[in-house]
Each structure stands twice: as C-alpha cells, then as structure tokens.
Symmetry: C2
Subunit: 155 residues, 2 copies
C-alpha cells in the first residue's frame, strides 16, 4: 500500500487553509496563470490594462491616486506610465495648481487601445471563478469589494 500524496488537492495544509492572505495569494496566482496561459500575441498585461482603463474612467487623475487605487508602488508606476507614454497612449500634464503632481489622460490612440483590449479583458474576467456558481461568484465579488474598499456598483 502506497499512500504518498500525488495530487495538489491531497497536500495537507492544516491551518494554512484557514489563512485568508494565503488563500488570496493562491487564488490570485491561479488567475494570473490562467490569463497568461491564454494565447493572444501582444495582449495588454493586466497591470497595463487596468492603468489605462482607470485613466480612461478618470481623465486627469493624479498619478499618486492611481497608485493608491491599484496598489502599485510609486517607483513602479513611474515606469509603467513612462512606458505607456512612449507608446503614445497616455499624456502627462503638470498642473499649475500643484506642480509636484502629474495629471494623466489618454491620447486618442490610448482610447483606441483600451477599447480594443477591453472586450478580451472582460471576457477573460468573466471566466474567472468558473469553479463557483453565479451566486457564489457575486458573493465573492461583494466580499472582495468590501475588503478593498471599493463601493459596489449602483447597478
């Protein structure tokens, strides 16, 4: 008789299976791996898409606010924004009211790029959590929004 563990499901996690941070990390990694497993050539990466999307939804948003909402460090955001600027997708503007900050907007090309990517992105997002039924998925969304202080949609 050989009872050696052979599948991931059989691995004993003990208390770790009640560790919320751990579960979130595993879930998140799983989603990313699924995302990158998809074909698609020069698809936007999730980080890029979300930055562009949020700028689109909040024209003139401050870079620091983007950092706060997307949980991206300032140092890293600088690189992201510079790269998107070089692709001709975002425009940086130093406002006169506060010349430390940077106001971000999309260029016309940027708008087009987001519009282009949005369909695929949200289509993928809708496949996330297929292990759950519709009501569980909705419930998970509600709990996560609460966890991260995103007010629910007014839908």
């Amino acid at each position: 008789m050989d009872v050696r563990v052979r599948s991931a499901e059989q691995v004993e996690l003990d208390q770790l299976q009640s560790a919320l941070g751990f579960l979130l990390r595993i879930a998140q990694l799983k989603v990313f791996q699924q995302y990158f497993m998809q074909p698609g050539e020069d698809r936007l990466k999730p980080g890029e898409f979300s930055v562009l999307w949020v700028i689109k939804c909040n024209p003139g948003i401050r870079q620091s606010l983007l950092c706060q909402r997307l949980m991206i460090k300032r140092a890293h955001m600088t690189k992201l924004i510079r790269a998107l600027e070089e692709r001709g997708w975002v425009a940086r503007r130093i406002p006169d009211e506060d010349r430390r900050g940077v106001e971000l907007t999309l260029t016309a090309e940027g708008e087009a790029a987001v519009a282009d990517a949005a369909e695929g992105f949200f289509a993928f997002e809708n496949t996330v959590g297929s292990e759950l039924n519709a009501s569980e998925r909705e419930q998970l969304m509600v709990l996560l929004r609460k966890l991260v202080n995103i007010k629910g949609s007014g839908l």
Copy 2:
C-alpha cells in the same frame, strides 16, 4: 466648486469593479503591503513560510507537488528550496524510485524555525480581512477554497 477625485475610494472603476481577477489582485496586494508594513526584523517572507509549513505538514513531499499547490513556478521553487537548504532548514533527498524527483523534509532547525514563525504568521493572518465581520470572513474563506480547490477543513 471642485469635484476632482481625491481619495482612492472615489476613483471610478466602472466594469473593473466587477472583474474578479482584478479584485483578487488588489486584495492580495493589500494583504502583502500590510504584511510588509509590520515591524519585525528577519521575519520569514510569506512564500518562505508557506513552503516550510507545507513541507512540515507533508514530510517527503515532492518539489513538483509543492509547486502545484503553492502556485510557484519550478524555476523559482528551485531557488527557494536551495536557499532554504543553505540556511540548514530543509533537506533534499533523491528517491531511488524516481531519481528525477526530489523529496523534501525539514531539518530539526527547520522545524524550530517554522514553529518559531508560525505564531506570528497566523496571528497576522487572523488580522487579514478585518474589514469583514466573522461570518463574512468565513464565507470568503469558503469561496476562495472552492476557487482554488482546497477542500475545507473537517473542523
């Protein structure tokens, strides 16, 4: 009148607030930032702790299985394990039944290190999700376990 968005909560996300992958990512990043914001000197990083913990709970576990369960890539796992080996915490053994694989166990020092870190780690984990009440937290855990195929505890 100035209605410019000033706080992260006010940032418009539109459809993104219904994107499960996005919400998971934000939640996960938030937890990590909280973790690293804590003081503590040479605390184990979450990844290190979980690897040690899972080896402790599954002595002799194969490296590849660890990868699967912890969603860590093989290339990266090699580095993690080698580092833990150099610290004298894990022992690698090439089993005769299959000389491709590696069986992992903790050394006595490894056991001590995990035991030492466990209290702090799980204490932190219990603070995760304080934005939710007890029943919401439990519900979130159940949903995440289902999402990642971790069978619930028999508690």
